[in-house]
Symmetry: C2
Subunit: 215 residues, 2 copies
Amino acid sequence: MDGGESLSSGRVAEALRQAILTGSLAPGSRIRQEEVAARFATSRIPVREALRQLEAEGLVTLVPHSGAWVARLDRAECVEMYRIRERLEPMALGESVGALTPEDIAELASLAEAIESTPDVDDFLRLDREFHLRSYRRANMPRLMSMIERFWNTMQQYRRAYTVLIGTEGRWAVHHEHRLLMEAIQRRDRYGAEELLRLHIRRTRRELATRTDIF
Amino acid sequence: MDGGESLSSGRVAEALRQAILTGSLAPGSRIRQEEVAARFATSRIPVREALRQLEAEGLVTLVPHSGAWVARLDRAECVEMYRIRERLEPMALGESVGALTPEDIAELASLAEAIESTPDVDDFLRLDREFHLRSYRRANMPRLMSMIERFWNTMQQYRRAYTVLIGTEGRWAVHHEHRLLMEAIQRRDRYGAEELLRLHIRRTRRELATRTDIF
DNA sequence: TGCGCCATGATTGTATCCAATTAGGCCAAG
DNA sequence: CTTGGCCTAATTGGATACAATCATGGCGCA
C-alpha cells in the first residue's frame, strides 16, 4: 500500500510541481517558504527540501539568501533543450518500437486520434504528452525516461504558450507528423520512426525559435 | 571575490562530492547525517540539503526513514548511461569543434599527449576527463554541459575500476581513438569528430558490458 | 531634485529539540 | 535449531527558535 507520499517534503514537492505544470504558478513567480509551509500546514524544513528537489528538476531557481522562483527559460535555453530532446527522444522511441505490444499501439492510435479532435489547449497538451511518453514506454531505459519526463516538465509552460499562439489550425503539421509516426510504429520501422520524431521535434524547435513573443 | 561557498550546505555538498569522486567514499557506503554534521562542525540540516542535492546529481541514494548511501550502479544502469552519452557528447563536440580557438586545440593536443604518457590511473582519469570536457567547451550549450559533467561524475568510480582492470597496455585503443579525434578536430571536421567520439564511447560501453567483474 | 547611506523589516539559513520510523537483537514457541 | 514476534536503541523526519543576510524605504546632503 502506498496511499500517498509518506514524507511531507515529497507531498509538498509534488503539489508545487503540479502547480507549476498547470500554470497556476507562473514562470518568474516568487515562492516564499513560509507561505508554502502555511499552505501545507507544515514547517519550512520540508518546504526547503522540496524546493531543492524541484531545483534539481529544473522547475525552480534558488538564489542563496534571496529566495526561490519558478524557473524562467529564455529562448536560448528553450532551443537548447529542444536540441537535446532531438537526440534523446528518438533513441527512446527507437528502443521502444520493437517491444511495443499490440495493445500499446492501439492505445497510441487512439491517443493520436484524440489529439486531432480536441479543441482544448490543456487537453491537447496532456494528450500529446501522453502520446509521446507512452511511445517510449518499452524502451527499458529508466534513467533516460526520467530525463525525458523532466524535459517535458520544464518545457510545459512554454509548450502551452506556443500552443495557444498557433491556435487550433496551427496544429495541422503536428497531426500529419503524428500520423506518419503512427504508421512507422505500426510497421515496426525503427529508423523511420526515429527520424520522423527527430524532424517533429526539430520543426517545433525552429518554429518556437522564431516566435519571439513567447519570451 | 568568492573565496568559498557561503552556504554551509554547499560546502558540505562539495566536500562529499569530492570524497565520492576520489573514491574515498566507496559506492554502497552508508552516509550518516550526524557523522557528516560532526565532521563539518555544523548541524544536520545543511547535511540533509547537501544529500538532497547529491541525490539529484545521481551520486547518492536516499531511502526515506532509512538513510543515505553512495549511489551504486549495476551493469544495466552503466550501459544505459553510456548509451545516453553516445547521443549527447557527439552533439556537444560537434557544436564546439567549429568554435574552438587555436589555443584550445593546442591545449587539447597537449592533454592527449599527457594521457598517453602517464602510467598513473588517477592522472589518466583526470586528464581524460579534462580532454573530453574541454573539447566540448565552445559548444555554448550550458545545460548540456552540466548534464554531461553529471554523467562523468556518476560514472567516475566505474571508470576507475575499469581503468585499473585493463591496465596500462589496455589503453592502446583509447590512444588511437584520441589521435584520430584530435586530427578530426584540427581539420574542423565536425561530423568526423562526432562519429569518432560516438564510436569511442560505444567501444568503451561494449567492453564495460562484458566486464562482469566490475559490478 | 537626484543620489547615496543607513535603519528597519522581511526572508532565508542554521541550531536545537522532539517525534516517527526503522533495524537489529533477544526471547519464546514450534 | 529455526522462526516469528516484540522490544529497545539508533537514525532519520519535522517543529520551533534564533542568527545572518538582503531588500525596501526614508532621511540627509550635495
